[in-house]
């Protein structure tokens, strides 16, 4: 199983080298993190790094889900509590940040835990059923190891709504 997985990984990297057009890439890498009882997948292309421990500076006049701004090696980045963004109760002791760079907009996302990086073939990603349309989610898929369902985070919506 693991040998096969490595094989696939290698192939994807090859693809990345030569085929950058989205349509031709058959699978993408996702970083899966946990928020409350949800597992959310974030396109690994947008992930800058994962931070643990930081000091946030409160920035007034922002929506409550923006905890403030923090200093990542001289770069000022806003921090979003994704629990509050999804309308869930905030975590008291959360300090794990996934820093994303989506079209040159940087954002630190406060998450409960980071699980793993996974390759997911594009065809496995299903559209979300219309009647249960989720906030900030552009698709979903069952994880190959059968451990559950992953929701695909819609960065565009996350940043612009």
């Amino acid at each position: 199983m693991s040998a096969m997985k490595e094989d696939v990984l290698f192939q994807v990297q090859d693809d990345d080298l030569f085929l950058t057009d989205e349509d031709t890439v058959e699978s993408r890498k996702y970083l899966i993190f946990v928020v409350d009882d949800l597992r959310i997948g974030l396109d690994a292309e947008y992930v800058v790094e994962i931070l643990n421990g930081y000091t946030v500076t409160y920035l007034p006049m922002m929506p409550d889900y923006i905890r403030g701004i923090f200093n990542m090696r001289g770069q000022i980045i806003p921090m979003m509590d994704i629990r509050l963004r999804l309308g869930k109760a905030p975590l008291e002791e959360g300090n794990l940040l996934v820093v994303v760079n989506y079209n040159n907009t940087h954002l630190g996302i406060l998450v409960d835990a980071v699980e793993l990086m996974l390759d997911i073939p594009n065809e496995l990603i299903m559209p979300i059923p219309a009647q249960s349309a989720q906030k900030l989610v552009s698709g979903m898929c069952s994880l190959p190891d059968g451990s559950g369902t992953m929701l695909v985070l819609d960065c565009d919506q996350l940043l612009h709504e």
């Binding site: 000091t55 500076t57 409160y58 920035l59 007034p60 006049m61 922002m62 929506p63 923006i66 701004i69 923090f70 200093n71 090696r73 001289g74 000022i76 980045i77 806003p78 040159n104 907009t105 940087h106 954002l107 940043l159 612009h160």
Partner: protein
């Protein structure tokens, strides 16, 4: 290099050249002549624009620059004397027009809009002028005459190939060079002629030297100068090229037009073996063919330029950001709590050295962003010149301190305010009637003085004219009419001058091309204030008006007062802070709408509590536990209640993250942030924005 980079480079280069050109023309106009150096320089500029435009396939631009190059070729060969006095104004106008034309087209190129295809009338203008100049050309100058610096070795009559050699009826030339030492060059040339006669009527082309068939001595001329074919029609030349190429022993050939141009067509041989284009050959020593024509006319400006490089501003921004980080990190390391109580002589010594170096590094990186204001100032020359013509006034512009250096972003944004003030002075300041000036005992020629001065922390830009000055009554009447002033109040001279900068005030009843578009000095004022500066006007009736702009040298570094509210740290620009004071509960007065006020120096000022206003999680509520900051910005003045005064610091201003800007925090007086010595962030407040927001809520 992507095509976009090439395009950027092209736009940048062309704009720089246009600026240079405009300055040359404006200076020359004052002298009413172009010096030979000017002419050479303009020729070089046009040549470069032509070449690069053709490379970028902007054909219209290439055409126009080509004609102008032609024009200046004539002038270069015959000196400025060829242009008679009455034609000179037309020449200057034409040159300024072409600068405008190129600028417009450059803007289109930048905006990716299609270029103006119809350049015929413009070309016709140039051609008319060329014809006029040529019409007065003495016949001797028109005939092929060797330039003074001709090669001494060959017979003088047929010296180095001359650019003005040729026949206007046969403008399409082809110069052919044969292989070195192939011998019998004259006969080879004759064979070439015969084969060309195969498809081109004898009357449609000429060749030089003409008697190649009989005279063997022409071989030597051909070795030196090549064999020149001159065609009546460009098509004939095109068809001749394959013939020339296939003929034996042809080393290289160059097509060019009668009025010289660099080789534009294919060169079959490597460039090194190609002799310089005839137009470029002014001296006996051939220049390397790869060099542009200008290489033969070296001038100082070019040498200077080689020691400069242009750098993308974003790289400089990145550099100053990193240097800012280094400075902070350095102080974090050297004052680390881990070192407390230790005696580390060697460490302290190195730390001091490091501090010195980082300070120097910071100075250098800041100086990189500084550029002289001269470009902005020079642009005013053109405005004054154009307005003088339009308004029929005689005004001279005096520039002082053009070399004052200011942060690039500031230089970019002071252009408009300065231009506005200069136009204002031209339009409203300088008297309509020269007689008025003479009667007032002034020089009939008006003067506008534009000066820049660096005081170390700020730059002072002063625009003054010696015109009629501000008429207090007229301004007041207008202010009352516009509802800015109240008719019952007595205003001081200074207050009346301040009306000039009130929004929507323009004393000129008529909207002119140059000023009075309904936006007035308030734009100047707000523009300068957005840079953190201030504007003051002084005027003496009959003596003219002076506008003084004070602008901080750089926006990237600022002196600020740090205050804390709960855990948050805010920085207030030092020039907004009037004073700080401790008060007690009983000093606070309440107004009818639950607002708070405090009486200071016989006036009442509103109090804004930072904690309440920003909904901060922590901070003092009790007036005795905190401190009042008395803030001022322009005409507003109020007090901000905070917890504690942390002290004055020089900070590196960082913009807020783009995502944060979506939430419009700027309108709440939050303009940026800064990283403090311990790595934490302070939020920069704008006194004016905060006040405005507090009063809307």
């Amino acid at each position: 290099m992507s095509s976009n980079d090439i395009l950027d480079m092209y736009i940048y280069e062309t704009n720089t050249l246009l600026e240079q050109l405009e300055n040359i023309v404006l200076d020359a106009e004052k002298e009413n002549t172009f010096s030979q150096d000017n002419v050479t320089e303009i020729f070089r500029i046009m040549h470069t624009i032509k070449g690069s435009s053709a490379m970028m396939e902007f054909d219209t631009l290439a055409q126009v620059s080509h004609r102008i190059e032609d024009l200046f070729f004539i002038i270069r060969e015959n000196t400025m004397e060829v242009v008679s006095e009455e034609n000179r104004p037309a020449l200057f106008d034409l040159m300024l027009h072409s600068v405008d034309y190129f600028r417009e087209e450059m803007e289109k190129v930048e905006a990716e809009q299609p270029l103006n295809k119809d350049v015929d009338s413009f070309l016709a203008n140039i051609n008319t002028l060329i014809a006029k100049i040529k019409g007065e050309e003495p016949p001797a100058a028109a005939a092929p005459a060797p330039p003074p610096a001709a090669e001494p070795a060959p017979p003088p009559a047929e010296a180095a190939p001359q650019a003005d050699e040729g026949n206007p009826d046969f403008p399409y030339q082809l110069r052919v060079f044969f292989d070195d030492g192939c011998g019998m060059e004259n006969l080879r040339a004759y064979m070439l002629v015969t084969s060309i006669q195969g498809f081109c009527a004898e009357s449609d082309f000429l060749y030089e030297p003409a008697d190649v068939e009989q005279d063997a001595s022409t071989a030597e001329q051909i070795i030196d100068n090549g064999f020149l074919l001159e065609f009546k029609n460009p098509e004939d030349r095109e068809s001749a090229i394959p013939t020339v190429r296939t003929s034996g022993s042809v080393r290289s050939y160059q097509p060019h037009d009668y009025v010289p141009a660099p080789p534009q067509a294919v060169m079959p041989e490597p460039a090194e073996t190609t002799p310089p284009p005839p137009s470029a050959v002014k001296t006996a020593k051939p220049a390397p063919a790869s060099a542009p024509a200008a290489a033969n006319n070296p001038n100082n400006a070019q040498h200077q330029k080689e020691s400069l490089i242009s750098v993308n501003l974003s790289k400089l921004d990145a550099l100053s950001a990193i240097v800012g980080e280094i400075v902070i990190t350095e102080s974090m390391v050297t004052s680390s709590p881990d070192l407390k109580g230790l005696h580390l002589d060697a460490f302290s010594k190195s730390a001091r050295q490091l501090r010195k170096l980082t300070d120097e590094l910071q100075d250098v990186s800041m100086s990189l962003r500084m550029i002289p204001v001269s470009n902005t100032f020079q642009k005013m020359n053109r405005i004054v010149r154009d307005m003088c013509k339009k308004l029929n006034k005689q005004v001279k512009l005096t520039l002082v301190g053009e070399n004052t250096e200011v942060d690039k972003t500031i230089v970019d944004s002071i252009g408009d305010p300065i231009m506005h003030m200069v136009r204002n002075s031209m339009d409203h300041g300088i008297e309509e009637n020269v007689q008025d000036r003479i009667n007032a005992g002034k020089d009939p020629v008006g003067e506008i003085l534009l000066s820049a001065q660096d005081t170390g922390s700020e730059v002072i830009i002063q625009i003054s004219d010696d015109g009629g000055g501000v008429n207090d009554e007229a301004v007041l009447a207008k202010a009352i009419r516009n509802g800015i002033a109240s008719p019952d109040v007595e205003y001081s001279h200074k207050e009346i001058l301040n009306f000039l900068m009130a929004p929507g005030f323009s004393t000129n009843a008529q909207v002119t091309e140059f000023s009075g578009r309904g936006v007035g000095m308030d734009v100047v004022k707000s523009g300068v204030e957005s840079l953190g500066g201030s504007v003051t006007i002084t005027s003496e009736q009959g003596q003219g008006m002076t506008t003084i702009m004070r602008i901080p040298l750089t926006m990237a570094i600022m002196d600020g007062m740090e205050v804390s509210v709960g855990d948050s740290i805010f920085t207030i620009p030092i020039n907004n802070v009037r004073s700080s004071l401790k008060i007690t509960e009983k000093d606070i007065l309440h107004d009818s709408v639950n607002g708070e006020m405090v009486k200071l120096m016989d006036s009442y000022y509103p109090v804004i509590r930072a904690r309440e206003f920003y909904n901060l999680p922590g901070g003092a509520d009790n007036v005795e536990d905190g401190i009042l900051m008395w803030l001022e910005s322009g005409d507003i003045s109020y007090c901000l209640f905070v917890d504690e005064l942390l002290g004055e610091h020089q900070i590196v201003v960082k913009p807020l993250p783009t995502y944060v800007n979506n939430f419009d925090v700027k309108s709440y007086g939050i303009t940026g942030c800064s990283i403090l010595g311990d790595g934490s962030i302070s939020i920069i407040l704008d006194a004016k924005g905060l006040y405005a927001a507090a009063h809307i809520m």
